[in-house]
């Protein structure tokens, strides 16, 4: 896959193999629906976070994952050459990628990037998740650098 900034201030993802499309579809699949509850666990009971805030956040996070999934499915189905992320869609993509990374971290406990190496990860599922996490992080960095600039 080739990823790069566009003159219009966006980011262009060019999948070159089926595997590339699969990993883009995995962004939405890797995110889980427990994120808002994990945030709620940081609050005390008096805050009524579970009752008031969790449903709203769940809705917001689900929308991010679905929007990204729809863009990828539509582009793949339409045999489009590339996916363009413009300024307007950047927050949604960043959020969906972040959800995926938070869920992978919660499941596999990779820890800080600088303190771990994929060579030490023996479990194939965790190893695959590590590389997806790394890939998602790279797209996030590019979004911050080229698209989400004020």
């Amino acid at each position: 896959m080739t990823i790069g900034p566009t003159i219009a201030g966006g980011l262009k993802l060019v999948p070159e193999a089926d595997q590339d499309w699969l990993i883009l579809l995995e962004i939405a699949n890797d995110g889980d629906s427990d994120l808002s509850r994990r945030f709620a666990s940081l609050m005390d009971e008096d805050s009524m976070w579970e009752e008031i805030v969790v449903p709203e956040l769940e809705q917001e996070f689900t929308k991010q994952r679905l929007d990204v999934m729809m863009v990828v499915v539509k582009a793949k189905g339409g045999n489009e050459e590339a996916i363009h992320i413009d300024k307007e869609g950047a927050e949604t993509w960043y959020g969906a990628l972040n959800q995926a990374r938070l869920a992978l971290e919660s499941k596999h406990k990779f820890g800080p990037r600088e303190l771990n190496s994929p060579k030490e990860i023996k479990d194939p599922e965790a190893r695959s998740a590590y590389f997806r996490n790394d890939f998602y992080s790279t797209i996030q960095s590019l979004l911050l650098r080229y698209v989400m600039v004020d």
Binding site: S36, S47, M148
Partner: protein, 96 residues
């Protein structure tokens, strides 16, 4: 009859000081959120300067947590809600 001395009362100010201790919005470190993103969110939500946001972001990263705001509970909850919406780990604590 001997006059009974009224018990000493805490002044209103002392009482209010005790019950009105501010709440603190605390951002917690996590291994996922990119440092540049954390600064960006702090600027967007609290209107901090770039320098202040980066200083707080470094404190979160190095010390595992940083108090980013103090004040009333309701407003603090609003800020934590915004931080959670941005997918940062944050909580609200009563000041010591």
């Amino acid at each position: 009859m001997k006059a009974v001395e009224a018990p000493a009362r805490k002044s209103e100010t002392q009482t209010r000081e005790k019950t009105d201790k501010p709440w603190q919005v605390v951002v917690l470190d996590d291994p996922v959120n990119l440092m540049e993103y954390v600064s960006r969110v702090l600027i967007k939500i609290f209107g901090f300067s770039k320098e202040k946001a980066e200083g707080l972001m470094r404190a979160v990263h190095q010390q595992g947590r940083a108090i980013v705001w103090s004040g009333g509970r309701e407003k603090g909850e609003m800020y934590v809600n915004q931080l959670h919406s941005a997918q940062l780990h944050a909580t609200l604590e009563k000041a010591e």
